[in-house]
Amino acid sequence: MRLIRARRRSFAGDAEVLADDDHRAEVTAYFADMARPFGTEAVPGLSGHSYGEMARALVGAVVSAAEPVDLLVLAFSVHDVWPGRATATYLSHLCPGTPLSFAVCDQGTASPFTGLRLIRDYNVRRALLVVVEQACLPYPAVAPLPAEHRGVAMLYGDGTGARATDLRQHTDVDAGAVPDLAARAVAELSAGRDARVVLSDALAAVWPEHPAVPAGQPITGVWWHLAEAFDGPADLVVVGDYDPDLRYLSFAAVAGLG
């Protein structure tokens, strides 16, 4: 599995679809019905972004018409402001190759790594991993939210000149067990080579052995960095994330950058 290309982007403002009053009313009712059983109330004044709109721009930027894709995985943690949409199915229509498409979620910051793992296991000619997060909830937030709407799209496959990658995932990891497991994972993925290791702020909080990406983008943070590093000088980049609530420790390595 090789990383052929990566693109990243921030998105300002609200989703275009929220300008439609009928849609806005439908979505507002949906969120009110969803929140009620959990003892919370939807807030007035819906805002936020749509992963369909964000991913549409990213897919267009990372895949050319001459590169038909076989598999598309959309990974997110904070949900969309268009909650009922089968966004991955929509993206399948937009993406060259009309790939098998689905979303992976309910896994915190581990979702993109699981998406990458599935891409590896499918072993197809080309696959697209799209990682997205938007910064608004339609009810009072009880957890930190992303600072801004962001997305990263990565095209994987067997293209010439691409970069080999690998990954590790550990489940049910107590914070106290992170340092040993993390050190072992980085050693395995580095295999004796010099590696630039970059951690999420959540992982660096319990294993401050390497530089961390800026806080505030819980799911796209390390992938944002990876997309930047794709054009950089390092030979090997290892990114790592830890979800302290769901207890996942994940690493991915991209070799041969620069």
Binding site: D80, L137, Y139
Partner: protein
Amino acid sequence: MTALDAVSVYTPAFRVPLEDLAEPLGLTDIQVRLFRRFHGLDRIRFDPDRSLGELLRAAVDGLTALRGREDRVRYVVHGRAMPVVAPYPHNPLHDLCRELGLGHALAFTVTQQSCASGLLAVELAGRLLAADPTEGALALVLTGEKAFTRDAQLLPGTSLFGEGSAACLVSADGPRDRLLSYACAQRGEFDAEFGEQSERFQREYRSSLAEVMRRAVAEAGLALDDIRLVLPHNVNVVTWQRLCLLMDFPVQRVLLSNVPDHGHLFCADAFANHRTATEGGLLREGDHYLVATVGAGAGATFSAMVFQH
């Protein structure tokens, strides 16, 4: 080869006649009569006392094959039609895994194929297990959802959703129901962004479903005549009657008996119908059967699997 080692289904005892759903869903008398007489729906199952996690738990509680083998479960995959069902960061799936002693498993939800996400969950579980070197590794596939809002209760002019759940223990090489093929066709052009297309969707629905069913049968190395039984999604009766005419397949070999009594149980239909088939002796050892479903809503996904019992 991916196999279903065991299947457990929970269907609530509480059922609501269609007429009682008319007012909350804003259905006219004519629409109710259409659902009853034309689409073959009668009562819809709900479980107002159970949350999503409790609904899924009810299915897992019946999965006796899981007991004592929890440590072998490496993956828990919730195949879900509705992409967003709980306020962030509530996570009923992980809460359930912890309750069940499955906190060691890699657990996630796969979605955005609407009601076809359940078959996709089986497919992904098989992929993960095939790549996993752990001897005897298992995956737990869960389906089932709450019909908590109008979008989750009504597919206008087509079906009504009910509540139920299924838990399925999947292995990479089990001896029971073996997965021979999986076919999937996604039609993102039916997304709302491309305008109102319900007429075109209805026009192409049956031919698109027939195409993936034929493809799944062919990829299994079989002919349609080799299929003992079709386990459908419980969208309605008339769709399957017409599909059988189109495919020249006997409708008597499509298990439709749960449609009037369940409603469309999101991604759990296939497993509820599997239970009915196995308990009713409709599948003998070695029989091939086909599971088919359509995920409809914003966009459409048609998918089918062929198994050998």
